[in-house]
Symmetry: C2
Subunit: 195 residues, 2 copies
DNA sequence: TCTCGATGAGAACGAGCGTGCGATCTACGA
DNA sequence: TCGTAGATCGCACGCTCGTTCTCATCGAGA
């Protein structure tokens, strides 16, 4: 990895952190340059536009997300254990300082067309697909009711994550995690075999 | 209502609409002035700062929210009917063009201290309190399990709203409303007397 | 040692930002 | 009808934005 590549990595790390608190649009080149101890133009040279920077921030974050959340969870046993692992990992991801960049970007860009929004949509779809697939596997394993809808499960699980985000970050409510876990158990109960 | 008051109202209406799509911070005085066919300074004279404008936008929206969502729902019969009415009304509110300004502001400002954030926090707390109270009433009526936690109910219901927002506005998913309603029924099932 | 591409600094740009200040226009009570 | 207070405008301010240029530095290969 050359020197340039290393700085680029440093920049993207800082940018992810910054974007999580002020949003992808709220993040400015000047602030980012200051926080990385680079000149505006020096930083800018690594990306040819702000939009390219935003896209690379998302790509960078997605790489980390797969490595820290998705892959480890897929190591768990098929079925309910894997669903639990995925939930746990995502909860940890959301709990990191600044919260989840995909969650904030999703809300920020929901009404602003463009390549960045397209990318966010793709990532969100990927995440929901992952959830649905993992749930579907669990259904095949016989852990969940045969008539339970994987996409509906993904819808409801993601809702828990959103609510967690709001309680924890906006309201500063310390019961957020407990509530999220409890909601998760309720959700599992509702899709389990016996009723 | 004097002329000034009327224009102020017009401005706040336009501002609510604008803020829902670009965020309270993304909204600029220039753009807002253009969309109301006022000069920047003419518009600015109604508010003494951008922050004051943001606060008044929230207050304005809250007035409409109470009138269009909370009050009508409180007219329904105590207990489950009232909970349903509240859910329905909030769903309609979220479905309006641009979505729910409180939802987007909540995500936008979760990490940016200041009076505007404080206001958003207060509004979000009020909303959760309303949900919890209405649910509590239903519990007293014997519609819900005695050990069901109103705040937990509010947490989970709000999660459904968030997920609805995401599916509908970000993903453009037409099944969003159906999924939200289905999730709501599941939630009701989980808190009902018989198990 | 010399050269050259990669890396970054520095200064500057046009545009748009929030904000303020007088001057004008307009509606309404005396 | 007139006077005036309030509503609105035109203009300009200092600043920051994203972006673009030129130029210095540095390290690796010839």
């Amino acid at each position: 990895m050359g020197k340039g590549e290393a700085t680029r990595e440093t920049i993207l790390d800082a940018a992810s952190r910054l974007a999580r608190t002020v949003g992808l649009s709220g993040m400015t080149i000047g602030t980012l340059a200051a926080s990385t101890e680079l000149s505006k133009s020096g930083l800018y040279a690594h990306f040819r536009s702000k939009e390219a920077l935003q896209l690379q921030v998302l790509e960078h974050a997605k790489g980390r997300f797969v490595a820290e959340v998705v892959s480890p969870a897929l190591a768990a046993a098929r079925g309910e254990p894997r669903v639990r692992a995925l939930f746990d990992a995502k909860l940890r991801w959301n709990a990191q300082p600044g919260g989840c960049i995909f969650t904030s970007s999703a809300m920020e860009l929901d009404d602003r067309p463009g390549p960045v929004r397209d990318r966010v949509v793709r990532d969100q779809r990927d995440w929901l697909d992952t959830l649905a697939t993992v749930f579907h596997t669990g259904r095949t394993e016989g852990h969940f009711r045969a008539d339970a809808d994987p996409e509906q499960f993904a819808f409801e699980l993601d809702g828990i994550m959103f609510s967690y985000h709001s309680f924890k970050r906006l309201l500063g409510d310390e019961t957020a995690e407990a509530r999220a876990r409890r909601a998760f158990e309720t959700l599992l109960d509702s899709v389990r075999e016996a009723r």
